[in-house]
Symmetry: C2
Subunit: 445 residues, 2 copies
């Protein structure tokens, strides 16, 4: 078969200016302007990788399985319900107070794809911070897992902007009986809705999702991801030098979806058909060991404390965890002894560094070619690794002077890139909430 | 070590409009606007992957080796020479008539990074087409390999816009003695130039590189790649589901740099530190077999005819080619017998489909998880594979109706994506050379 380009369309995106080049007679690119949108990841994943699966642990019997094709259809249904039944319009915020599970993945795609903003709530935060955050973001809807109603119900009287609560999964609903917000069942809301949605062509720089940092100093601070930043970050996660997974892999996503978008894994996996294994609320060492043995993930992403607990569990009660060869650890440094112990189990732990403000992939410690197979390899794996092409960095001293990359100098690390935040959302949503740029992106070490 | 974002800069790119969201009180993303530029790939590759290498075959003795750090310094020198000595400004076109080698890689990065447009000339085209193309693109400078002077010299009197010819590598210069264009030696031009260049922050949609299709019907047609399209394409090539190489790999780039940017490999490899092995003019089966045995590449990219010749060579005179486990084949379908023969040598051939208008990565035939290890796997590998997330496609019938993806329907394939062309450059460079979009991107099968 031969191919021939006959003709073509240029989808002029709204952010393309009238003149995008300096000279009158400048050479124009002939490339299409296709905005990088989360809806494109959804549409691709549910069509091309329709048989890939999200498996959610249920704690009893068979885990729950849902294909990417089904997720795509249900994300469309959720978007219809949010728009047509609950009246969500424009870029209103829809919050989630949920564990890692298939419904949370549906929310991840439906909400930004329709133009609204996904706001993941960190269920580990103190009640007063959660109240502050929901009011600050002006969330209009909260999707909540039934098992988390005991956490949400006492907060509801203080959540001024929340009009709708949508409950998904098992859990006693009675605490919501007197809520002033309208309460809906997730499955009832989706039932009968169309399984396709005409996703809008958005500005790729528009807000797609937001997380608040925990606010160890002062009020929590909002980081707002764009469609563009999430799309580019997903591509980076899928690059061979980063996590480098394919549709032959299954990733055990232990890192919570309310924590920096589960390190970008739900978006990245949907982009390439990597299967997801979701622990829901079963984050204790015993069920984690069980799900690894039973579902045979090839990759996992977690913080070191979770892995420390898993090691104790596997020592006390050995399981077949041989499928799991690659573990991405972030959040804090992995103790060398833990790394060695997992090496012996055949699980290769790889450090990654990032933060809410870096989407989070800042660095990853895949040993460079020169170190592989040498004594230097293990020492390298204990570092935080190297920056990918999308993240630029420099080290500056107290007077703003540039310091050398010599492995010894200590200073402020300044980072820059298309998935790095330039400011916090510290006031109520207004177009001017971000102060004009005055200095470089800085990260203090 | 802990990190803390202190403050941050928003590099407002020139294409960002005053209001990038629909509503007055819309939520803004807090992500940095960092344009996707080829200079970023260059800066990253030469710093983070400074020890990776371009190895160029010389036909005698040791091949020539140059590190990515050296390439970075020399690309800066070339940009200084082009701007300060030859007067290249704005988006003027700088052409190359060169084989695959380290100097051609330097041109690949220096020319677009400084804001000019790299125009690769296909040395297989008939003389009259080359003349037409150079005049159409209004090339101001031509970089030429010494061995290709016999091809260039007779054309020069017809090249109206060419003011400078820069010669690199071995070859008799005497045919250029009477040229009206000024003739320079590449190495003399670079000598003494600064090894750093303050690369401009360009619009990521600006023209970066151009290729002309061979013009089987009518005049040749120009496809103009943008910085954005090349950057995104490079990320895709590096994704595990595509070529998925890392800095432990060496790619034998047989596909010419004058043919669709060598399938994007020079940009993609620099992004992640993959080493390049460049055959220069030694494209015959015997030297290719020699360089595989001697330099031990792990990956190669070529059209089937080259691989057919290599198989005959290896059958006649066996070599150790065991390093080479992954071969990307495109341009035309690989005969099943050839694929089987290479399977037996341990070289796994993978089809990729693309064209000048698709940058070229359109599809790649890595078998889906369900087919791996089954009888269906080989049959799948004979297809052209699946689309990545960045390429959307649909099949339409003669009346414009959408046809099903059933493996049987035949129609026009319409493709869309950020690295897919929307039109050809068919007239002399003017801002209006691309007609307004009227229909979808179509590729006829």
């Amino acid at each position: 078969m031969t191919y021939r380009v006959v003709c073509a369309q240029n989808q002029r995106s709204p952010y393309r200016p009238a003149g995008n080049v300096a000279q009158e007679d400048a050479v124009l690119s002939t490339m299409q302007d296709v905005p990088l949108l989360i809806s494109r990841i959804l549409t691709h994943g549910s069509a091309i990788h329709g048989t890939s699966q999200v498996t959610t642990w249920t704690g009893e019997g068979e885990p729950h399985r849902r294909s990417y094709a089904e997720i795509g259809a249900r994300a469309a249904q959720l978007a219809h319900a949010l728009r047509d039944d609950l009246g969500v319009t424009g870029d209103e915020r829809v919050a989630t107070l949920m564990w890692n599970n298939a419904e949370h993945v549906e929310a991840y795609f439906a909400i930004p794809s329709m133009g609204a903003v996904l706001h993941t709530l960190n269920l580990r935060l103190p009640a007063e911070q959660l109240v502050w955050i929901v009011n600050h973001a002006a969330d209009r809807v909260i999707l909540v897992n039934g098992s988390l109603i005991p956490l949400l119900a006492p907060l509801l009287p203080h959540l001024k902007t929340v009009e709708h609560v949508v409950v998904s999964g098992p859990g006693d609903r009675s605490a919501l009986a007197n809520a002033t917000a309208r309460v809906h069942e997730y499955e009832e809301l989706l039932a009968g809705q169309p399984v396709a949605y005409d996703w809008p062509e958005l500005d790729e720089r528009a807000a797609a999702a937001m997380c608040y940092t925990s606010g160890t100093t002062g009020d929590p601070k909002g980081v707002v991801y764009s469609h563009r930043s999430i799309y580019l970050h997903s591509m980076q996660v899928n690059m061979a030098q980063s996590m480098g997974l394919t549709d032959e892999d299954t990733s055990l996503v232990v890192v919570p979806q309310f924590h920096v978008n589960a390190w970008g894994l739900p978006h990245a996996t949907f982009m390439t058909g990597v299967n997801m294994l979701m622990p829901d609320r079963f984050l204790q060492p015993a069920p984690l060991a069980e799900m690894i043995e039973g579902e045979k993930p090839t990759h996992a992403a977690a913080v070191p404390t979770i892995w420390q607990g898993l090691l104790a569990e596997l020592t006390a009660k050995p399981r077949d965890v041989s499928s799991l060869t690659q573990v991405t650890i972030g959040g804090s440094a992995c103790p060398p002894s833990l790394m060695e112990a997992f090496d012996q189990l055949g699980m290769r732990v790889c450090h990654a560094w990032g933060m809410t403000e870096t989407s989070p992939l800042g660095t990853i410690a895949r040993p460079p070619a020169g170190a592989v197979g040498t004594d230097a390899e293990f020492a390298y794996r204990l570092t935080q690794g190297r920056f990918p092409a999308g993240v630029e960095a420099r080290l500056t001293g107290p007077g703003g002077e540039r310091l050398p990359w010599d492995g010894e100098s200590a200073g402020e690390l300044e980072v820059r890139g298309a998935w790095i935040a330039f400011c916090f959302s510290t006031t109520a949503p207004t177009p001017s909430r971000c102060a004009p740029p005055t200095s470089s992106a800085r990260t203090a070490g």
